[in-house]
């Protein structure tokens, strides 16, 4: 952590991190506290009877606090809190913990053991009950915190719009956030393509990851989170706040432009939204995008013990298609494995899951998963009018060879899909894009994974983020080769990785001949603005300059040097 302005006591502290997106926000900080475990060698209480009473009382206090929070919350959050309050208020679990204390177990250990008994029972039951295990553990953490005299883990109920900070945010943490009061996210750990960053992008929240020191800032301190600059200003002075507020206003102005994506001279480039759920589809369809370029179907499969049924999948895919009406939706079939483990599809014994049976490769071991998914998509296609059927595009992830592409195309067409494609995320596929495109109707570049496999760099290792940079010349070369194959064969080549969300990269991709860019809906206005202020010839010159550079920073600098000055200023591209 670096302290800004050591010579100037009036300057605010600056914390540095990796910005996700470009947003800016000024708001008080709310720090998510980690859970404390019961000490491993906790001694029995001196007065077992009094300690047992205290345990019962701690459960009651947690139940009361949760009920209180539930009463002030609404919707799904209120339901989760009410259910959690009921668990904390349960006589059976408190009585079991008290019994263990009387038998000579330390109080915090007794609570942990009593809860673990129910955890084991619920886990064994599976299904809905297994999903309640998170609530049980949340109650355990709160009761243990009271017994140890430490702050309760998690966030208190937010009462004002706040920037939420934590060491990292687990999916359960983000699910419990009251989004009406979250205006930004900052984490000490995590990477730019991790869970927190994806959620932030989806919700259009300014976000900073890998920001050491943020959880040491006291709760309630006003901070200015500037994702474009990759920094958090702690307690900024009034003039800085005013300047950042102006920038936030300018960004809202950009969002008012709803014209289709195109260069200044009318070369069309489709701007699309990445989505994961039917709710995402509803939100994205309400914005001026040309459809969805990436519907991540694995979200439907996450956190479950068994795969969703044919009927369930048909319903969800159908509602996503309906949300977008006459706009196209590119559905990606199940992309599980590696950083997206599924209870029923993860190979337990893989030493390198990113190089293992993941994505389309699951068809080798679990062919029914893909079979059911294609059957559901086929059922949706069959229910569409002839004219609308062409809006359903379906692609497979992690395809490495033309033979795999042909295999997928055969299965998908047999299921009744008319527009079949594959993802280009493996260097082998980019190098053989021409042969792969000969088998399918389109391809889409996943730049996160393509960079991971090209640079041999784990996506989740934040400390290697410089190698994962989509501006790396080797990655740009593979993108260019894929785009060229598409131009030559007259078939669409899209990009649906994070690099599509970078307005400067959008210019490069347009110049390379990419036909569509899919990103979080919040990133679309900046890409639309950047592309509209350059001609196709200018985009080509920018792409050539980036490709000619010797390193990632040089490639970005070369592109930036040819970018219109109004775009650089408005989007604070540096």
């Amino acid at each position: 952590m670096s302290l800004g302005g050591a010579d100037d006591p009036g300057a605010p502290t600056v914390l540095h991190g990796l910005g996700v997106g470009r947003g800016v926000v000024v708001a008080p900080l709310a720090v998510l506290r980690p859970a404390h475990q019961a000490p491993a060698d906790e001694p029995p209480a001196d007065d077992a009877e009094a300690a047992a009473q205290q345990v019962v009382e701690a459960f009651a206090q947690v139940a009361a606090a949760l009920s209180d929070q539930a009463a002030r919350a609404t919707g799904a959050l209120a339901e989760v809190l009410t259910a959690t309050a009921a668990i904390a208020g349960d006589a059976a679990v408190a009585a079991e913990a008290a019994r263990r204390v009387r038998a000579g177990t330390g109080p915090a250990t007794a609570v942990t053991e009593a809860v673990e008994g129910f955890v084991a029972m619920f886990t064994a039951a599976g299904g809905y009950l297994a999903e309640r295990v998170t609530d049980l553990r949340s109650v355990r953490d709160r009761v243990v915190a009271r017994l140890l005299g430490v702050p309760e883990p998690g966030l208190g109920a937010l009462s004002v719009p706040s920037v939420v900070a934590g060491v990292d945010l687990a999916p359960a943490d983000t699910a419990a956030l009251d989004l009406a009061f979250v205006v930004g996210l900052v984490t000490e750990e995590g990477g730019p393509t991790g869970h927190t960053a994806i959620i932030a992008g989806q919700l259009g929240l300014p976000c900073l990851v890998r920001t050491p020191g943020i959880t040491a800032v006291p709760d309630g301190t006003v901070v200015a989170l500037d994702a474009a600059a990759g920094q958090v200003l702690v307690d900024p002075p009034a003039d800085v706040r005013a300047r950042l507020q102006q920038r936030a206003d300018a960004e809202r102005e950009l969002a008012r432009d709803t014209a289709p994506g195109a260069t200044a001279d009318g070369h069309r480039i489709d701007l699309l939204a990445n989505i994961g759920t039917a709710a995402d589809a509803d939100r994205a369809a309400a914005t001026p995008v040309a459809g969805s370029g990436l519907f991540r179907t694995e979200v439907l499969f996450l956190g479950r013990q068994t795969a969703p049924t044919l009927a369930e999948q048909t319903e969800v895919y159908g509602s996503v298609l309906r949300a977008f009406g006459d706009r196209k939706v590119v559905v990606r079939t199940l992309d599980a494995g590696a950083d997206k483990p599924l209870a029923f599809a993860t190979q337990a014994d893989e030493e390198n899951p990113a190089l293992g049976v993941r994505g389309y490769r699951l068809v080798r071991t679990l062919p029914d998963l893909l079979g059911t998914q294609l059957a559901a998509l086929g059922a949706v296609a069959a229910g569409l009018d002839e004219a609308d059927r062409d809006h359903l595009w379906v692609m497979a992830p992690m395809v490495a060879t033309p033979a795999e592409a042909r295999d997928f195309a055969t299965r998908a067409r047999a299921a009744g899909i008319t527009r079949v494609g594959v993802m280009v995320e493996v260097p082998a596929a980019a190098l053989r894009a021409r042969e792969i495109l000969a088998e399918v109707d389109f391809v889409s570049l996943g730049t996160n994974d393509l960079a991971q496999y090209t640079m041999a760099t784990d996506r989740l290792r934040g400390e290697l983020a410089d190698l994962l940079d989509p501006w790396q010349p080797a990655v740009l070369d593979l993108v260019a080769a894929t785009a060229r194959a598409g131009v030559d064969l007259g078939k669409p080549v899209g990009v649906c990785g994070e690099s599509a969300a970078d307005p400067l990269m959008a210019l490069v991709l347009t110049g390379l001949g990419i036909t569509s860019l899919s990103m979080s809906p919040a990133a679309v206005p900046a890409a639309r603005y950047a592309v509209r202020r350059h001609t196709l010839a200018q985009c080509r010159a920018i792409a050539d300059a980036a490709l000619a550079a010797g390193s990632a920073p040089e490639a970005r600098a070369a592109a930036l040097a040819l970018t219109a000055s109004e775009v650089r200023t408005t989007l604070t591209l540096g």
Partner: protein, 89 residues
């Protein structure tokens, strides 16, 4: 020892929210009530965790029992409550 049979009226089953409503009603009676499937060990009906742990499905039949011989009326009311759709409101 009074006993009553009841049918679960909540079509989605006795998951957290309906189970919580039922167990709160049991606790409010002040009577020790047990709930369970035929031929299986019964659990405390005022414990939401125990009741959730039974994973009772809509339409299933369960047995309610109480130690207190004067609890006939209480059990009748609980049978009626279990027969309604507790997920509805």
């Amino acid at each position: 020892m009074p006993q009553r049979r009841a049918t679960i009226g909540t079509t989605t089953g006795l998951h957290a929210r309906p189970a919580s409503k039922f167990t709160q009603a049991v606790a409010a009676t002040g009577t020790d009530v047990l709930i369970g499937r035929d031929g299986q060990p019964a659990v405390t009906a005022s414990s939401v965790l125990m009741v959730m742990g039974l994973a009772l499905q809509g339409g299933e039949e369960v047995l309610l029992s109480a130690d207190d011989p004067s609890a006939e009326q209480t059990l009748e009311e609980l049978v009626a409550l279990l027969g309604t759709d507790l997920d509805a409101s």
